[in-house]
């Protein structure tokens, strides 16, 4: 529990000097936050306004900007590739986020046992998460190739794997596998949350004869639910913005089966120079992220457990 700051009571005689202090304090506050404030206005708010205006125009950066009203937005919802990109992004997010969370939760649970050599395993499990996404993407072009590592291993156990990156039905699963390999960063957060739970709770539960599974479900999970929630939100936002993997592994192929929102936005802006159209796309993405975040936030009241509420 954080301690409450005790406010000093001021006598009526030094009200004037107090007002001066408030002014000085305010000035210092703005001096210190100025790097962020300037960046916020110049690199966030300003560009957002610009982007919003741009989304109602037709502009290729060379000729004059032309105001076309809602046309970009109307065209977006007639654009089959864009609709497919939204669908693919959703499917990818729906698969990769929950699976990653479950897998990292399982890993974190395993790694939370205090056994010899745990430091080694912890490092081993975290290692893939530090590999830069360029390197892991290049690596996975080989692993997921028709006769790459994955299919060789599957071959040993008698399964004939698809050409992961070349078949429409398989390509998104390939991306999920890549996401699973880098699950370590989520795992570390969950692990430190699990480790910060005191033993007393478990000891009390054990006295009452609770099983390990029961304890995991009714002690561990509720106590780390804020961290699960944090990872769920960042996972959703992150997966909706997937870019590098798609750019490097498939470039949206085969036949747009792995086209996602941000790579398609990038293509429109920087290959076709359809700046207005791409800006409209960015706003649709923003709206999607906002709505999904709010839904998760709303649902969190039902399943995220904050200890303060009980006390």
């Amino acid at each position: 529990m954080e301690s409450k700051i005790v406010e000093e009571t001021t006598t009526s005689s030094n009200i004037a000097s107090k007002e001066r202090r408030v002014k000085i304090n305010r000035r210092w506050f703005f001096i210190f936050i100025s790097p962020w404030l300037i960046g916020f206005l110049g690199l966030t708010v300003g560009p957002m306004i610009y982007s919003f205006i741009m989304s109602f125009t037709d502009w290729d950066m060379l000729t004059k900007m032309e105001f076309i009203g809602l046309d970009n937005y109307i065209n977006l919802f007639k654009d089959q590739i864009f609709l497919l990109s939204i669908k693919n992004t959703f499917i990818y997010a729906l698969m990769s986020v929950p699976i990653s969370l479950l897998v990292s939760l399982g890993m974190a649970y395993l790694l939370s046992f205090k056994l010899k050599g745990m430091r080694f395993f912890r490092t081993l499990y975290y290692l893939p998460a530090i590999v830069p996404i360029v390197a892991s993407s290049i690596l996975f072009t080989n692993i997921l190739a028709a006769n790459g590592l994955l299919n060789k291993v599957l071959g040993y156990i008698g399964i004939e794997g698809p050409a992961w990156l070349l078949e429409k039905g398989a390509v998104l699963y390939g991306f999920v596998l890549l996401a699973l390999w880098g699950v370590g960063s989520t795992m570390v957060l969950l692990l430190s949350a699990i480790n910060s739970i005191g033993d007393e709770m478990y000891e009390a539960a054990m006295m009452e004869g609770a099983s390990r599974l029961k304890m995991f479900r009714s002690i561990t999970i509720p106590l780390i639910s804020p961290v699960i929630f944090f990872n769920l939100i960042t996972g959703i936002i992150g997966s909706l913005q997937t870019f590098t993997q798609v750019y490097l592994l498939t470039d949206g192929g085969p036949d747009n089966a792995s086209s996602m929102i941000v790579p398609y936005l990038y293509k429109n802006a920087f290959s076709y120079y359809r700046m207005g159209y791409a800006s409209a796309m960015a706003w649709v993405l923003f709206a999607i992220i906002l709505v999904l975040s709010l839904i998760v936030l709303r649902s969190s009241k039902m399943w995220v457990f904050y200890e303060e509420e009980v006390k």
Partner: protein
């Protein structure tokens, strides 16, 4: 957690499961090493083996032939990357800690509103500002330079400010009062009292900034067009098979480069572990304590 209650058979089960998944997670690394050490004769995908069969070190020497010229000036890419990385780290440490200090210690009625605004920017997808910011830098004549990758780093990032501020609020107030008595002004307190005490947070900022600047593909992809100005990440991306189907470089060499690209981050993890672990604990326990 409750180690004492694991009996021997259960311990063995846990170890077996740990080893099994550990091996699955490590297998791609082995494959990466194996491919990077394959000789040009075996260089077709179906020939790559899981464990390295050959040790063709020449791949690495070939990768480093002609590092400052030719079609893949890796030396230049490295220098470009280090330039971006170092200036980004300086920018983030300087700006994020200043802003964090403002939010942690300065008094202002509407401080919390500004802080919420800062946190809200974390939710904002970068793509919203991507195109206008690109247009701004292009109009400033900075297209095809490294500056668009560096300049934004001098305006603090919400995430860095957030955890640095948490570090600063943990500093006891009596320390500030003592410093004020000694006649230090706010900048003095920030430099002489606060900065030395939040070294772990600064180290974490440096590590996060390094990781981002070192591995970022989209930024350089948008701003850089000359291959002499590429960063390593963009260079590697450009050499990889799918973006470069004609295949000027064989798979082994691309894999060598990917391997080398991973090494600094792995080293940084080992050296920076203790700083990151402090932070992670901070995030992890914030909700459960």
């Amino acid at each position: 957690m409750l180690d004492k209650h694991l009996n021997l058979p259960k311990k063995i089960v846990v170890y077996i499961v740990l080893c099994f998944f550990g091996f699955i997670l490590f297998a791609p690394f082995l494959y990466m090493i194996s491919i990077s050490l394959a000789s040009p004769e075996t260089n077709i995908i179906q020939n790559f083996t899981f464990f390295p069969k050959e040790f063709y070190w020449k791949n690495f020497t070939e990768l480093f032939s002609n590092v400052f010229g030719g079609s893949r000036p890796i030396g230049l890419w490295f220098l470009n990357t280090m330039f971006v990385v170092l200036l980004s780290i300086i920018g983030q440490i300087f700006s994020s800690s200043l802003v964090a200090y403002g939010f942690a210690q300065m008094q202002y009625k509407h401080k919390n509103k500004y802080f919420l605004l800062l946190l809200a920017t974390m939710m904002l997808p970068a793509q919203i500002t991507l195109i206008p910011v690109f247009v701004i830098f292009r109009n400033l004549g900075l297209y095809n330079t490294l500056w668009p990758l560096i300049i934004p780093q001098f305006f603090a990032s919400a995430y860095n400010v957030f955890f640095t501020r948490q570090f600063m609020t943990a500093i006891p107030g009596s320390l500030y009062e003592a410093a004020e008595m000694d006649g230090l002004n706010n900048f003095g307190i920030y430099r002489k009292i606060v900065l030395p005490l939040i070294m772990p947070a600064l180290a974490a900022i440096a590590i996060f900034t390094f990781n981002h600047a070192w591995g970022d593909v989209m930024g350089p992809l948008i701003y850089i067009s000359d291959s002499s100005k590429f960063t390593l990440a963009l260079g590697a991306a450009n050499l990889s098979a799918s973006t470069n189907p004609t295949g000027t470089l064989n798979t082994s060499l691309v894999m060598c480069l990917s391997l080398l690209l991973s090494i600094p981050q792995i080293l940084l993890y080992f050296f920076g572990q203790k700083y990151l672990f402090q932070l992670k604990l901070g995030v992890g326990s914030s909700g459960t304590k």
